[in-house]
């Protein structure tokens, strides 16, 4: 019986993230979250499932392909996905076929020779910083996800645990 391992790459910009700034601006100026929302940051998340190999070494190789170190930082989490305290992480992913994730999987497998790659999933994690207590923050995060961050016809979201 094979034990597949999951390599999670959390990737974020070292330079200012214009998209996160636009989302924050829209939430505050257009959707009325100025009293509760302190900041918005964004990460890309790649979850790569492999059926063999040393996950630590594989993670380094995958990061070389998927992360541009000139402008991005990343951390690797093997078989787990956790986030820091201080914000509500909202993971947004396509629930329809994700062509980019499929392309990444094929690139890793066919072009770069990582035949142990079984699956690749891609998501965006919105890190919502609130001025309110945790229960209210979680409620506001759900509301923000449904009002702005997703289009339910193609995206789904999940409030991640910390």
């Amino acid at each position: 019986m094979s034990m597949n391992r999951k390599i999670n790459l959390r990737v974020w910009l070292k330079i200012p993230d214009a998209e996160a700034a636009t989302v924050k601006n829209t939430l505050i100026r257009r959707l009325g979250y100025g009293n509760v929302l302190a900041d918005v940051k964004k990460e890309r998340l790649f979850s790569i499932e492999v059926d063999s190999g040393d996950p630590e070494e594989l993670a380094k190789s995958f990061a070389k392909e998927l992360v541009n170190e000139n402008k991005e930082s990343h951390i690797v989490l093997i078989d787990e996905l956790k986030f820091e305290e201080g914000y509500v992480p909202v993971k947004v992913a396509l629930h329809i076929e994700d062509g980019e994730a499929i392309s990444i999987r094929e690139r890793l497998r066919s072009r770069l020779g990582f035949e142990n790659v079984v699956d690749v999933k891609k998501a965006t994690v919105w890190k919502l910083y609130f001025d309110t207590l945790k229960p209210e923050a979680q409620m506001a995060a759900r509301e923000i996800a449904e009002r702005l961050l997703i289009n339910p016809n193609k995206d789904s979201y999940e409030i991640m645990s910390q």
Partner: protein, 272 residues
């Protein structure tokens, strides 16, 4: 008869659209997104042109859909004025809920979002052969009855138009139960991607973006709001057509895209 061509930060087809609207005999001006929204009521119709509003941040059209000017536009749509959203304009109308415009909203002044224009996925023989941004000349078949929709009011059912596309997110998808049946039954599917003979083939390169049922354009239930991914303003004059099209050699002739703007004019004349 005066038409507002809406401009958001990142819109890039407003001047061609302005030329097209004026060339069919309507007055027109560019209406910036941050003008007092109430001024929209002085216009008889609206075009939201293509481009990349707010750099397509988050997803195409969603940030523009939250601007106050869109609330005013909903009121204008509600009283039957024609609105044509082209490419990014279509994406904005979908994210606003004006298209397909069936939901009553969630109590915050916005209609329910019943569909999405997702990232292009080009499929051939069951395999993804390409994805992302794509631009090309495409063939469209007009599938709505004439007089059903403001932007195809004067176009007969079955007419074929060659018009260019240029987008990365035009793949129409929906999870709303029964929506596709309703769109088909009520003549709200206005244009479909087809081959040069009008056959609907759900394969790239005929279906250029993976859109459900090859849909390229839809209108709302009332027919006054049209959203289309192809750019009729880029095929307005025959000289804009590609070199392989013999009509290019007859530059005095109108291009196929002109019919969309003529339709809008005719719709306003009839409904005035």
């Amino acid at each position: 008869m005066k038409i507002a061509v809406l401009q958001f930060p990142g819109t890039n087809c407003e001047f061609e659209t302005l030329v097209a609207v004026k060339a069919v005999g309507m007055e027109s001006e560019i209406f910036r997104w941050n003008r007092p929204a109430g001024e929209l009521s002085g216009f008889d119709g609206f075009v939201i042109p293509g481009g990349f509003s707010y750099q397509d941040r988050l997803r195409a059209g969603v940030i523009a859909s939250k601007e106050p000017v869109m609330n005013a536009l909903k009121e204008e749509a509600g009283i039957g004025k024609p609105i044509i959203g082209i490419c990014n304009g279509f994406q904005i109308l979908v994210e606003t809920g004006l298209l397909p415009g069936n939901g009553k909203g969630n109590g915050e002044g916005s209609a329910k979002v019943d569909m999405a224009l997702a990232q292009n996925v080009m499929v051939s023989q069951g395999k993804i052969v390409r994805r992302g941004y794509y631009c090309d000349w495409v063939n469209l078949r007009h599938d709505a009855p004439s007089r059903r929709c403001s932007g195809s009011f004067a176009i007969e059912r079955g007419a074929l138009l060659k018009i260019p596309i240029a987008h990365g997110e035009g793949n129409l998808v929906t999870t709303t139960p029964g929506l596709m049946e309703k769109l088909n039954e009520e003549g709200q599917v206005v244009f479909r991607y087809c081959d040069r003979n009008g056959r609907i083939l759900n394969e790239f390169p005929f279906n250029v973006n993976g859109s459900t049922e090859n849909i390229a354009a839809i209108c709302n239930e009332q027919g006054n709001v049209l959203g289309m991914m192809p750019h009729p303003e880029r095929a307005f004059f025959a000289w804009q057509l590609p070199a392989f099209d013999p009509r290019k050699q007859r530059p005095d002739e109108p291009g196929p895209g002109r019919r969309v703007f003529e339709s809008m004019k005719r719709y306003i004349e009839v409904n005035a």
